[in-house]
Amino acid sequence: MEELASRNKIKFDKYRLKKLVIALLPLVALIALFVAYLIILNANDYNVSMNLKTLLNQSIVLILVATGAIFIFTLGQFDISLGANTLFAAVIGTLAYKASGNIFVLFLVCIVVAVACSLLNAVIASIFHLPMFVTTIAMLSVLTALATFLIQSEGTASGTSFSITLPSNLVNDLSAIDTPAFKISVVVIFMVLMIFIFNFTKVGRKMKFLGGNQNCAKLTGISVSLFGIIAFALAGLGAGLGSSMTVVYAHTVSTTTASSIGMSVFIAIVFGGMPINGGARSRIYSALIGGISYNLMTNILFILFQSMQGVRDGLVQVISGIFFLAIVFVASINYRSKNLPR
């Protein structure tokens, strides 16, 4: 009897170990990629600090927007208008900044606009009983059109496109805060806030539960529409911060600003180990880990395939795609629970 118990215990510890390993996999992958990156940089005698700075710049907007979006994904929802929202908030924020000359105004306006637009998705969905995804599709068109109109009428033409540019004194002000220290501070503060809400508050708990089974959550007294609204508001916060950081970095807004954010958000959180359906296993730091991992991976691949100029871009995309599929597959194995019979 005891032997049985101890055999079961060993089996169980192996099982627990396996679960732990799979849960830590994204972090381990990130560390491995980072080490590989450093090795490759040194082997090629590249400027390590410059490259790390570039990595930060590549990742920060993505991390901010994607982390906010995790609340939406946790509910098992999808927001296709994130990129458009970021763009639109950046446009309004930039115009406000131009008018006021105050950096604080830039941040405030970007955040307020992004939160408002994001909230609109959830509120409209709630009032008209539509799936939230549907309203985000409509938002995507509306925000993109508005942003384009504003850029063309308020912006200046240069070469082949229109953009809203800032006068040099404002550019200088922005350059002053466009530093690694500031950016890392913003990310840290934001992450702490998000982690707190996600893991340590009733709001986060209820959202995870809701994402796990909407019927059950409803029958436990959790309001589907209320938490949908909260999730979108938090996503708006991420998008607003992301949009202001985009302006800080690029000093300009054009119709292609934040154009790739929509898909990148999804890719980043998957790379970070977030389950696609959301629910109880959602992790708030998936975007952080995944965003950096994804950029590390593509940077490494670009360096490795540097010499194959002709096929380099295609090759990098294909390999990234394969990795993406592999991660989704591994995550789903873990997710597919083994059914015990009744």
Partner: protein, 381 residues
């Protein structure tokens, strides 16, 4: 004794060799890396430039030209520039046109040379950047050149072809480059836009909030207009309708050979475009109905390279005021298949117009001499 003499001799020779190598201004072992920012990775013109740089210049000068992936936004451009800097590129050529002023400053802050390979900076950006030590300069068709190119096209079709009714494709109007070309085209045809002619047409359009309305066109030549920008879904249908009305010609300020060449060839309607001397376009001129092509030739990037190399070699080409240069470079225009082939063969990868001999002669020139060389008409006769 003999051995030690031999040894001494060898050592002396080796030392001399090292000294020689150290003395030479050029590092002969290390490849010089130059990053190239591009927004267009697949168009024939872009590929032509790429081929010139990577298959000719790189081989002649022990340079490596690293191309960025397709750049779509200003952030991406800046990020890619930072990546190039981090990979020890000595210079960056920009052909993506995303916030060039910012990039010039970025490169300058990192002691990396920055030059513009196609198009131009805005006047404000250039004014702010020209005194930056590491901003080499820009060579390209400025807006006036674009206007003049459109003008020449319009005049040709008015005077030599006597057109009375034509179709026109507006490409990405209201983007400035195409708008200036259109202004020139309308003026060359003798038409007006809301009563304005010349470059005033551009200002009029901007005054209307950058909205181009073809119903404002008036004049002897009747114009059936197809907008490109903001009309993407309908362009083929619209052009089809225009062709069905049997116009004298179909003129374009850009992108027509990309989209409509086969359709126009099939309908036998003569058309024009501002594009580049690719073999596809050559085919359309020979076997189809492309009648007029203004374009850039691939090695027109040569002077930009020469200026960069001069800078890297410590012989930067600066204006009298010690600033970066801004020079105009025009288009070649082919009006027949023979002319086209002449142009095309005049500038091949094996034997470009700006070959090593010519490039060598440009490197380290004084500003005035450089300007003269760039301005020379190199149209093949």
């Amino acid at each position: 004794m003999k051995i030690s003499k031999f040894m001494k001799g060898t050592v002396a020779l080796a030392l001399a060799g090292v000294a020689l190598a150290a003395c030479s201004g050029e590092s002969t072992e290390k490849v010089v890396k130059v990053g190239v920012l591009v927004a267009d990775v697949s168009g024939e013109e872009a590929l032509g430039f790429k081929s010139y740089l990577q298959n000719y210049v790189a081989k002649q000068y022990n340079y490596e030209f690293i191309y960025s992936p397709q750049i779509e936004s200003a952030e991406q451009a800046k990020s890619q520039a930072e990546t190039f800097i981090g990979q020890n590129c000595k210079a960056i050529i920009d052909m993506a046109d995303k916030n060039r002023g910012d990039l010039a400053k970025l490169c300058n802050d990192n002691q990396v040379y920055f030059a513009i390979g196609s198009g131009m900076m805005s006047d404000e950006d250039f004014a702010a950047s020209k005194s930056l030590e590491y901003f080499v300069g820009q060579i390209g068709p400025n807006m006036t050149t674009e206007y003049e190119t459109g003008l020449a096209m319009g005049q040709y079709y008015k005077d030599a072809k006597n057109v009375t009714k034509i179709g026109v494709y507006g490409a990405f109007i209201p983007n400035p480059m195409h708008l200036y070309r259109m202004a020139g085209l309308l003026t060359g045809l003798g038409d007006t836009y809301k009563g304005a002619t010349g470059q005033n047409i551009v200002f009029t359009v901007f005054g209307d909030g950058a909205q181009f309305d073809a119903s404002n066109i008036a004049g002897d030549v009747a114009i059936d207009y197809c907008a490109g920008f903001d009309n993407e879904g309908a362009i083929f249908a619209t052009v089809g309708q225009i062709i069905a009305k049997n116009p004298d010609a179909f003129l374009s300020v850009g992108m027509t050979t990309t989209f409509f060449a086969d359709t126009l060839d099939g309908a036998g309607v003569e058309y024009s475009d501002i594009d580049s001397f690719t073999s596809a376009n050559g085919n359309h001129m020979k076997n189809g109905s492309l009648g007029y092509l203004a374009g850039k030739y691939s090695s027109s990037l040569g002077p930009v390279f020469a200026a960069i190399k001069s800078a890297i070699d410590g012989k930067a080409i600066r204006t009298e005021a010690g600033e970066a240069f801004s020079l105009s470079q025009g288009y070649w225009t082919a009006k027949s298949s023979e002319e086209f082939e002449k142009f095309q063969s005049a500038d091949s990868v094996e034997n470009p117009i700006f070959n090593k001999t010519l490039l060598d002669s440009l490197i380290g020139l004084s500003y005035t001499e450089f300007v003269n060389e760039v301005a020379k008409d190199r149209t093949p006769q």
